[in-house]
């Protein structure tokens, strides 16, 4: 990984005076060319460019090649590689303990759409404030390439086995279940992915990014619908994405008829220029039907499908004190003698 262009920027520092180096992780143990490696690069760049202190970030994951990737970016961030399909609950618990932390979860299509479906749905429903990335390759990489629930009908394995069940569109599902920022990208589309990640960092609420990430070892051949080639040929971008961080001036012009401007929680702006006729990132219903119809047409849409900065996130819903619960002083969390006395009296 440390041989990618990025290192050339190593001397440069970001707004908080850190170098890209400070955002690096350990050397990848994934296959050379695995889409997951590129995504890890984009993630660390985004945090670097947004000037986020690495120690303020929690990296969460389940089990899988994808779930290993937190080890390959931002070693200075705290990381929890949990059990298969259960990252959502662990991530939720961690945020309850310390809502002042930022959280990014890396999962796989198997980790999320198969074993993880139950927890995934309930994370979305709670709008837990975190970035949830699915490194989506349509197979179980770490167990050597069985189909996952996002594999398209008719997609073929090297072994010749053909998938005969319809794929689950995790984006349509996420919008329906309550995620407040939902998009799809491709590990090979550096610009789109980077912009989406920066906007994701600026958003507060559940961000679901389904990133098509080819598995070069088990699902990058002819007949695969999750290969580099297939994506390059079928990637159908629904909107051009512009991101203007709070510290940049937003005077830039845009045409309100073709472009939606969304102000995110930290004051930055997301500018979505419509490229697909039924595109409307402000309506859940329309976003979902657009995605469902795309499936029937066999299109693979990418871009930001839905975004709303209005809904309150789960930690706000719970109306907790401002400080992290984890480190409240004992005098705040252990009631006084009079309270116990009162309780005893009630039971006499």
């Amino acid at each position: 990984m440390s041989t990618t262009p990025v290192t050339s920027a190593a001397a440069k520092t970001n707004r908080i005076g850190l170098q890209v180096l400070d955002y690096r992780g350990s050397k990848t143990t994934l296959c050379a060319g695995c889409g997951h490696n590129a995504i890890a690069e984009r993630i660390l760049e985004a945090y670097y460019e947004m000037g986020i202190q690495p120690e303020r970030v929690m990296k969460m994951s389940g089990i899988g090649c994808s779930s290993k990737s937190p080890a390959y970016f931002m070693s200075r961030s705290f990381s929890f590689n949990s059990v298969h399909g259960r990252m959502p609950s662990v991530a939720t618990g961690a945020l309850l303990a310390n809502k002042t932390m930022r959280s990014i979860g890396i999962s796989g299509d198997g980790d999320t759409a198969s074993i993880g479906m139950g927890q995934f749905v309930h994370l979305l429903r709670r709008n837990v404030p975190m970035i949830y990335i699915i490194e989506d390759n349509g197979v179980y990489g770490l167990t050597k390439g069985q189909f996952s629930a996002t594999a398209d009908i008719g997609s073929k394995l090297k072994t010749g086995v053909v998938n005969d069940l319809a794929p689950i569109d995790v984006c349509a599902l996420a919008i329906q279940m309550g995620a407040t920022f939902v998009g799809r990208s491709f590990s090979g589309d550096k610009k789109q992915l980077s912009t989406m990640l920066k906007a994701a960092i600026a958003h507060r609420g559940t961000v679901l990014l389904d990133v098509i990430s080819p598995c070069v070892t088990f699902n990058d051949h002819e007949g695969s619908t999750k290969s580099y080639k297939y994506m390059q040929e079928h990637d159908d971008v629904v909107s051009e994405i512009g991101f203007i961080p709070p510290y940049e001036d937003i005077a830039v012009e845009y045409d309100p008829d073709t472009t939606v401007d969304v102000q995110l929680h930290d004051g930055s702006h997301l500018r979505l220029r419509k490229l697909h006729e039924d595109y409307d990132p402000t309506s859940k219903g329309r976003a979902v039907s657009m995605l469902m119809e795309a499936h029937e047409k066999g299109e693979i849409l990418t871009g930001v499908f839905y975004v709303s900065a209005k809904e309150e996130d789960f930690t706000s819903t719970l109306n907790m004190v401002d400080e992290p619960l984890a480190t409240l002083s004992s005098d705040r969390v252990r009631p006084g003698r009079e309270v116990l006395a009162e309780l005893m009296q009630e039971h006499r």
Binding site: Q119, N319, L340
Partner: protein, 616 residues
Amino acid sequence: MAISDIVQSQPMASSLVRSKKVANDFSIQVATVNGSGSQSANSILLRSIFSMGVPVSGKNLFPSNIAGLPTWFTIRVSGQGWVARKNDIDVLIAMNAETVHEDVHTLQAGSAVIFDEILNLEERRADLTYYAVPFDRLVVATGAEAKLRKLIKNMVYVGVAAQLLSIDMTCVETVVRKQFAKKLKAADLNWKAVQLGYEYAASTLTKEDPYVVEAMNATHGKIIVDGNAAAAMGAMFAGVTVVSWYPITPSSSVVEQLIGYMKKYRVEEDGKANFAIVQAEDELAAIGMVLGAGWAGARSMTASSGPGISLMAEFAGLGYFAEIPGVIFDIQRTGPSTGLPTRTAQGDITFIAGLSHGDTKHILLLPGTVKECFEFAMEAFDLAEGLQTPIFVLSDLDLGMNNWMSEPFEYPEKPLSRGKVLDAKQLDELGGFARYKDVDGDGIPYRTLPGTAHPAAAYFTRGSGKNESAKYTERPEDYEYNMLRLVRKFETAKSMVPKPIAEGTGKEKVGIIAFGSSHWAVIESRDQLERELHLKTDYLRVRAYPFTREVDDFVAKHETVYVVEQNRDGQLLNLLKVDLDPALVTKLQSITHFNGLPLDARTVTRAVASLEGAHK
């Protein structure tokens, strides 16, 4: 010979006393259906006797549905302070047509039956005393509106019982008015019903049974509480901050009562909560949130029961191996699978001791009293953070949901102890740390919390192979080193968990070992054994796993040791077999009880008697 005689003749014996008075030593059973709102009436009856200074216990035997099925509430009145379940019922209040015949049939000679006259009991037993009561007529007389009558009816039997058992009506009134403190009209109406019942009995019924309550001074300052409320209080005073749960009988009332306390006592001036309580989508998510929160530094907990515990197995192993604090209450119920959800048992202990695949070992706390439910709840959080591992607190339905007398709980003098956590300053001094290094030789490593502002603070948590500095590894020696450190940590735990409690002279030949709610039947049985069989026993109540030296010593000091427990397979015995020197194991004898009812003294006494007989 002799032995069995005495034991068998027990029922007869009591029928002989028929004529003469039996004060403060009998059981009242109210037979009704659930959903009929008899709970408050029963609790008033219980508390009235309690406030006369007479020791009582109340046990509710309810079905696994919501309304309309038979329910039995039993109040045991015991001047000597025995609070375990007693098999024989002396006074039956029969309100349920469906069960009245069997209820009456199973009564021992000499018992009394207060019954709703509409149940018209034709054929009557000559050896029982019957008191017919025209409940409906009396209810109407209270002037209660139609929709309240079902409830009010229960208050009438309180009055009838009060009169027949000479329960002090001033006590009853105080209790009624306390119960309905916030609603004066309700208080008046209910009190009226009690009075009508009382007057009816006084005017119409003639006392023929021997059972009476006589004022004592044995309950002064004491409280009546259920173990789940006690555990909830303990958790609150332990400073719990993150709670995630999924409802399941009989554990739901731990969290539901905790929610009540936290809303009242843990919301700050600005109206914000210094805690988070989340109803998870299932138990996998519940324990997942507990571990996530524990990892991030919160005091986190969940409460569940058998089926939920089974679902937590995978995460329990992660908690053990990745060394993450968390507290899990298991309020045990009867049986494998769904079993009998509203019956009690102690059947999860071996399963939880090794909950998860591949050499996983857990620490268990075993409260036997409601006071310990309170104290161990606090202890559990200190242990979880001190040992960086999940701590399981095993209570049961009997302890958790029934009414128990207790000394009032004491305010914790010990400050919260949060375990080995390094902050940024310490990291500066140390210049870094290795997450899984056994610095102190006790097997317990140091950890940092997410957010610690230091470039060397972060580490990678995983359930897979790791070396001292938390780096991924598959090296045989690293794996072995880490697993052996975990064994050292488990050894360390022995010096931190609650020690067992010994009773008796310590000089007897026969010993008894038990844990949890079995305690109450055991102490009463020891008294029976001594009075009836002249068999003196020593008793050790185990309060935690891993076992501590005291257990070995106790067994070593006795010829025979009966291990008494409420499960089929002798689970505590099995853990002892694994951990004790086999030479000591030869002394152990198993006494089990597993029909879903709380253990009673007579069952223990019979078992010991026959096994002792066998010895001779």
